[in-house]
Amino acid sequence: MFRLAVKSVRHNPKRLILTAIAVALGVSLVAATQVFTNSLSSGFNDLFGDIYGGTDIIVEAAPNAEESGGDPFAAAEGIFTPEDIDAIADVDGVDKAIGGIQVPGEVLPADYADGSDSDPFGGGGAPSQIFNWSGEEAVDQATVIDGRGVENNGEIVLDLDSAPALGYSIGDDVTVATGTGVATFELVGTIRFGDSNNLQGATLAFLTADDAHTLADDPNYSSVGVIAEEGADLDQTVTAIDEVLPEGTRAITGEDKAAEETEALDEILQYVDIFAIAFGLIALFVGAYIIVNTFRIIVTQRTREFGLMRAIGVTGSQIRKMILLEALVIALLASTLGIILGYLLALGFAGVVSLTAGDIFGTLTLPLDAVLWSYGLGTLVTLIAAFMPAIHASRIAPMEALRESATSGKKSLKVRNIVGAAMFLVGAGLITIGLYGDFERPYIWVGAGAVTLVIGATLFSAQLLSPLAGAMRPMLTKWFRVDGKLAANNIQREPRRSSNTAAALMIGVMLLALVATFTESLKTVVTDEFASNRADAFALSTQGPIAPEAIDLMESVDGVAFSSSLGFSEAGYDGMQRSVAIIDPETASDVFEYPSDPSIDDLGSGEVYVDPAIVESGVDVGDDITLEGPEGDVTVEVTGTIDNSGQGNFWVDFATGEELFGDVPIAQTMLVYDDDIVADDAENADDATTVSEQTALVQEALAEDYPLIALAQPGQLEQLANTFIDLLLGVISALLGSALVIALLGVANTLLLSVTERTREIGLLRAVGLKRRAVWRMITVESMVMALFGTVLGMILGVALGSALVLSLSDFGFDGVTLPWVWLIVYTVMAAIAGVLAAIWPAWRASRLDILQAIAADG
């Protein structure tokens, strides 16, 4: 039976080519992701090995203690005093214990001072990593290449790639900026990190311990590198060190640490995998429609063959088995092709990423996971899709073999409609439950609902397509004469097939329209956000908080009226770390319209406004609550609420902030200029100082001492935000691209099969005088109608679902739905073009048919 299936596939491979490609494309997406994340993981594994592997034991803050917000580049606060380090050094088995401190700052390029084109976000690569030089290779993980290591205060070494990149050579003065100002050091040497200076683009610098302490404004160390005595048992030494450590810290061997970091990264990469596999599944889901269509058509075309088999005694279940085996053969071939394609895809993508981000990949291997997932998904989807046509084939009666022509029965669409409508409603219900119900895993409900809804819409669309094609018939006849009429007839003749084909496209376009609706509405939110903004410029710091002295400096610049600063930190409340925003009530409402009740102006000392999340946990206006800050516990009265989710759970003024945190870390300072500073597009812009010019003046004033503070105007920020949103849309569109390509293949595939089916008909049309060009046009019109139908249906569904999503997120500031008109028009035009493209192969075949053979063909 298996041999018969293979023979059947080999006998007529053409009709299965596109089907196989569709499956292969979906599988390739799955395989590519797995290969890609796997090699990324092994690349980082090597990197962590470089960082930690050389050190015997690392002593650091315990991971369950206060986290630094998950930013791997943020400098940890010093927690080890010099006495702690002496204590560690005295532990049995420890040869040396060397304290490490990281300076929160940045090595500036040699020409930073004349970098007048102050693009505040342009240089946003990996930041600098500045440490103290220990001279111990095992601790520094760096080897001197040129010059020498740091010996005296006032000296610095840079990694061998960054020194020339930043424009420094040995002997130059290197400028290092921190939140409190700038300092210069003499470059005495270059170093190589690990074996290959694999820094992912970051700058690595070392200073003396004294200089590092001064710059970091911290007498303590953030970590300790331990070199064990020769032959000492590392695990025993770790246990021994643990006994002398302060609370909230731990010792761990370098090897374990590297493994731990890799594991943490793998966890993140797993989400990337899931994300990409989701898109792979979408692609396969679309592919499934094509498989269903292909097998349905093949079964129809082979009705006589199956009838004959039944007549000579083959059972229905054997026929069913044979078709499923055929599907299996295709699935295995296609999955293999998909894995190869996916590997190449990952290879290409890794190559492109390496160009910009450096060599961050390990060798690209094909993990077993990728192979199993690919074969598993590819086979499963193909078999499920082939199941219905297989059952259909097994029901063919022996009598069918004797029938004149293989016309498919004119079965009523009634059952299909009822099932379709029911599935549509159930799907919508599931989505609603998922969005509004209170369940553990809402996305399972939403996902299942979406799939059910889409299948329902597909089934029901046959009912729509049929009268639509009928309605379009006069129009198409008028435009394209007989070929237009025939195209409409052909669509109408096989409403199931046509609507399945259109549905494949519908799904892709639906998702695109959904995302476009969401992002367009998001843009409106951003625009509204900035519209309620009255500041002329924002000051942000690229490293650490903004120093109070810098704020004074900005306010002292001529033309600056006043500033309002916003700080963020975390305080304990009810056993959890919660975000706290610190705001200046006197100036806050002059720069931004905060959605608070009452006005933010009324926020007094010892009072707090809370956001909806806190209100939901049972806090009411009038309650007294206690916040636990590093400086002490403070009890405040809740006097208002603020709707601004996401920025802070609690909003307090600076006086309360200082009680909680001491120095308030200022994240953002908003500047308001004098009234005589005019807008850039004002009429008298030539005579007066404009906002842009004023911003440049302030930036200039900051340049010398605070080069890390960058100014931006609200318009620039809005543009930046919109750029990110567009990027998001772009990435998702690209990932959906494969689904759309598959859908197009589906249109081509259906047409190709129906051209085969209509061979005699086309031959006859040619015989009575239809020109090749007209045959081509007939197929193209058919293709375009199906493509446009799928697209329009997809857009309607997508916009509807997108609107539902946006409305359900009204808590997050979405006021209303903005329809992505431009995109909708773009999609429509692209669908029409796609229809023309998809028709090329089938139309070519149809128009090239040999008339005599076509007429004689066994229909």
Binding site: L486, N490, Q492, R493, V768, G769, K771, A774, L852
Partner: protein, 247 residues
């Protein structure tokens, strides 16, 4: 055979050769055929299977190309035309009736009949249309799809389609081959009266002596050559002639 080009010819072929395949496997289907089809005549082409009668019909009709030689339709030499031009000639001057599968399944009988006119964008002459429909007895069947018609009705629709554009010549390939004898003789009578009453030219390929007897003239083909011609045939005469040919 005298070679005289007169305007009375609807179609002609001179020294028509048609070879299939190459080398050892080469088969000569037409071996220097000269034939004239006079206007308003019902010509039947007969011969044993493999004699090349279908090839002769296909090459005369411009569905297939001669390997060498020349053929004309209504004074147009089609052997030198390209594919698009030949299509144009077929559309303008030729009507077809095949043995089966003559109709587009998705079009109604009426739409199938007017198909050649629709393709060329010509208006239907309603009087002519009604006359054909009346003679062929299709009045009640016009809105039916081919699947809803009997075999005889389907072939009559095909004849109506061939007649509606008043082509220079109609080629029929075993038109009654799939019909029972009653429907078959009805159809052939229609074709005969189309020639007599409207001056239509028809060329028909058949292997059935009874069918051939409806023609004015029969050409006998053997091994790719025209071996005989018969005027005013009867079924018995044809049968005798066929027996002589050893079949």
């Amino acid at each position: 055979m005298t070679i005289t080009d007169t305007p009375e010819l609807a179609a002609s072929m001179r020294l028509g050769y048609k070879d299939y395949g190459h080398g050892e496997a080469a088969v000569r289907a037409l071996d220097g055929v000269n034939v004239d089809i006079a206007r308003s005549e019902f010509t039947a082409i007969m011969g044993p299977s493999g004699s090349g009668k279908s090839t002769l019909l296909h090459t005369l009709a411009g569905l297939d190309r001669l390997s060498s030689g020349e053929s004309t339709i209504a004074d147009t030499t089609i052997t030198s035309l390209n594919e698009a031009q030949i299509t144009e000639v077929r559309r303008k001057y030729i009507g077809f009736v095949f043995q089966s599968f003559n109709l587009i399944p998705s079009l109604t009988a009426k739409e199938n009949i007017t198909l050649p006119l629709d393709i060329s964008g010509t208006d239907v002459d309603p009087a002519w249309f009604d006359e054909i429909i009346g003679i062929l007895g299709l009045k009640e069947r016009l809105t039916h799809l081919p699947a809803e018609l009997s075999g005889g009705q389907q072939q009559r629709v095909a004849v109506a389609r061939a007649l509606v554009a008043r082509p220079e010549i109609i080629f029929a390939d075993e038109p009654s081959g799939n019909l029972d004898s009653k429907s078959g003789s009805e159809l052939l009578s229609f074709m005969q009266s189309a020639v007599k009453d409207f001056g239509q030219t028809i060329v028909m390929v058949t292997h059935d002596p009874t069918a051939a007897a409806y023609a004015d003239r029969i050409l006998f083909l053997e091994d790719g050559q025209i071996v005989d011609e018969m005027r005013e045939p009867t079924a018995d005469k044809v049968l005798d002639r066929m027996k002589q040919m050893g079949h």
